[in-house]
């Protein structure tokens, strides 16, 4: 069973969201997602300043077997990206919820966070998938 921390919200497309409490959220991919993808060889982060809609593809993670889009779980403006992933994409495999974060968004509408599922909901989702 993969790790699903209680303090995060989750998107059905396997991104996690951490509310930073200052109008921004941090986004990454879940432990389950990194495990399914396998060893990551490349992460393409979005451009800082870019506007994204909720559900819009804005980053790409590439593993030895596939390349997958990362969708922004909330709408807003990209304010920061994890530049260390350029040289060390394996950080996502090693620490998906910590050092392996991908980008931060300044949200347009914090209500959108309520539309995401909590840890229990995501854990149930994973069970259903299996």
């Amino acid at each position: 069973m993969s790790n699903v921390p209680d303090d995060l919200r989750y998107a059905k497309s396997h991104e996690w969201v951490r509310d930073n409490g200052d109008g921004t959220v941090t986004v990454g991919i879940t432990d389950h997602a990194q495990e399914a993808l396998g060893d990551l060889v490349y992460v393409e982060v979005p451009q800082v300043g870019k506007r994204v809609d909720a559900g819009e593809a804005c980053a790409v993670v590439e593993s030895v077997k596939a390349a997958s889009d990362i969708y922004s779980p909330v709408g807003g403006e990209i304010v920061e990206t994890n530049e260390t992933l350029g040289d060390a994409p394996e950080t996502v495999n090693e620490d998906a919820y910590g050092e392996g974060w991908i980008f931060k968004v300044r949200t347009d509408d914090e209500q959108e966070l309520d539309g995401l599922v909590d840890a229990d909901g995501y854990a149930r989702l994973l069970e259903d998938e299996e």
């Binding site: 490349y42 393409e44 451009q47 590439e62 596939a66 390349a67 889009d69």
Partner: protein
Amino acid sequence: MLAAIGVGQVEDLFDEIPHSLRDGSLDSIPPALSEMEVARLMRDRARADGEPLCFLGGGAYEHHIPAAVWQLATRGELYSAYTPYQAEASQGTLQILYEFQSMMTALTAMDVSNASLYDGASALAEAVLMAVRANRRTSSRRILVPRALHPAYRRTVHSIVHHQGIELIDVPFDPTGGHTALEAMGALGEEPFAALVLSQPNFFGVLEEADILTDWAHGRGALVVGVVNPVALAVLKPPGEWGTDGADIACGEGQPLGIPLSSGGPYLGFLCSQQALVRQLPGRIVGRTLDLDGNPGFTLTLQAREQHIRRSKATSNICTNQGLLVTAAAIHMALLGAEGLARVAATCHANTRQLSEMLCSISGVEPLFDRPVFHERALRLPAPAADILRSLAAHNVLGGYDLGIDYPELDPALLVCATEMRTQADLETYRSRLSRIIATRAQPACPVKPKI
């Protein structure tokens, strides 16, 4: 065969296509011919081309091709191999592609090369798309395209990118030098652009100030796409060394590397880039690796860029390569070596220089531009170029490219080329024929009118 697969008639195989989408009858397609009839047709067509003395360049060049090149390339193992679907089971094919890529990176001084594209012009279109995707610094969709770039390349790039919201900005050439001058860039304003396309040599054969223009474009936050002649690279500074940081992408036409003119194709395009852009590079890329037992082997690499994995988000809809032509090009380069290629380039340059001097000794013929050239030169003529080319053709001389077609302001002018294939006698044949044609035209009309 229809009976064997249980189908009544050929038409039944197309059942799935709705009738409304069908084009009806194909009246322009002639009836089937037998092998004997096709052989006769091809022989007649080939004979109609003739074997003129060729001083025509303009993007495709008549070079000597050692007999061994096609003797080897047409071996069954190589001739019948298509882009490998069971890639790693085709180690020989992969190794040839890998060797080709290695040679192209050595020639262009770039970090990576793909396994080729269809031709030089479509390779440039892919390079432009790559630059727009890769240049996140300006996020611009404007591309600076010098008018001194090959007109067919300009048209091809326009066809491929104009529906994708990419704007191609014309950059004029200097009327005296024939080059793309830095001063012309100043007139373009301060609006950002994604990339500058720079051909070396340009369509007029003229050498561009690649270092200065590369540094200028980089200073504006743009990428530089070099369009280069692979033979010229043997003697000119490669795009990877232009300016302080080098061009970001290099592409061009591989035909001069062992591919016959063949009435215009098939040819091969090459596309190379700096390592930082490798994930934006379209097409197949072969890599060298170690297998589980530690033995070296070859593999298709970075396939996550390609459409069989990335579908609509692939870097390009082109995921194939010109396998047979790449094989010939790799063998050709291996046979010539760096020194052989440099000797070809130097001889082309010397021959064109001499041809230009000989032709310019004719009254009314003079160089159009005063800048150094590689192996082509634009000449001003004292009479319409089309008329002169027609007269030369009657003497079995292919005299060059009529520049007035694409550049009315230069009319009447001719782009001439003399590769290493041209002998002293050939050059003299051209000079004497041209001299006589011009002299005949200059004669006053006969005052005595025939009585009819």
